[in-house]
């Protein structure tokens, strides 16, 4: 494996870890279920994408790399579906979104 590929892969892995971290921080800090949903759905999925891309760069065959990249859209579809289901249910149960002035 050429060294630049190794660096690129490592950079993507670290970037992925960063987005996961941001998602976790958002999950812990954000005030209500809708905002936490934003944090998880966006940051974690981007983190997963970076990690998978970083690993795909190291794959030996094209098919193996594509298999890794195939995982991403599956996870995205799952997140999109579950995220909407959660938001839809929260709305149906009458959970009001947190707003800035209400907290004051």
């Amino acid at each position: 494996m050429p060294p630049w590929l190794e660096y690129a892969s490592g950079t993507l892995l670290v970037a992925g870890a960063f987005f996961y971290f941001a998602g976790t921080v958002g999950l812990l800090r954000f005030p209500d279920v809708y905002t936490r949903l934003h944090a998880l759905a966006k940051a974690d999925n981007l983190g997963l994408g970076c990690v998978l891309a970083g690993l795909a760069l190291q794959a030996e065959t094209l098919a193996a790399a594509l298999k890794l990249l195939l995982v991403w859209p599956l996870a995205l579809a799952a997140s999109a579906g579950v995220g909407y289901a959660i938001a839809r249910r929260a709305d149906a149960l009458g959970i009001a979104p947190w707003t800035r002035d209400k907290s004051k």
Binding site: A77, A87, D91
Partner: protein, 157 residues
């Protein structure tokens, strides 16, 4: 109809090739698998009218990748900043896309775009939860709609 079968067959065959990691001995069972999957998908998702263009798919994927990167960065910045600049609000957005797959793709992908999560879809009114009221959420949803409309072979509604 035949067109749809061939297209889906090719898609599943490609996926099988990826899953089997390029192994060529797998094609016996692979043919059975592809046939079963095409049958299942025809039953679950009947063929529809409309054209399909690779260019539009690439445009959609590129738009999606770029926007989800922006979305991730934005959420990361908000989560990690010492004072998160959150001012969430609900936004009722009138959907122009036709019902069925295009509209559902819009709802699903909005959840991964910067600052928006679909909360409820009633006919052609979509309620969005927006992370920051100052963001141009409606304009971005409009742009996404245009890309999806192209993907499904229609002029922007």
């Amino acid at each position: 109809m035949l067109n749809t079968v061939l297209r889906r067959g090719a898609g599943f065959a490609f996926l099988w090739w990826v899953l089997a990691e390029g192994s060529t001995v797998a094609w016996g069972l692979g043919a059975v698998a592809v046939a079963a999957c095409v049958a299942a998908s025809l039953r679950l998702l009947p063929p529809r009218q409309g054209t399909f263009s690779l260019a539009a798919l690439i445009a959609f994927v590129a738009f999606f990748l770029w926007q989800s990167m922006r979305g991730g960065l934005q959420v990361a910045a908000m989560a990690l900043s010492p004072r998160p600049g959150l001012s969430p609000c609900m936004l009722d957005y009138p959907v122009a896309l036709p019902p069925g797959p295009p509209r559902l793709l819009l709802v699903a992908s909005l959840g991964l775009m910067p600052g928006t999560v679909g909360v409820r879809l009633d006919d052609d009114r979509l309620r969005l939860h927006v992370l920051d009221a100052r963001l141009p959420a409606a304009a971005e949803a409009k742009a996404l709609e245009a890309v999806i409309a192209r993907l499904f072979g229609r002029r922007t509604a």
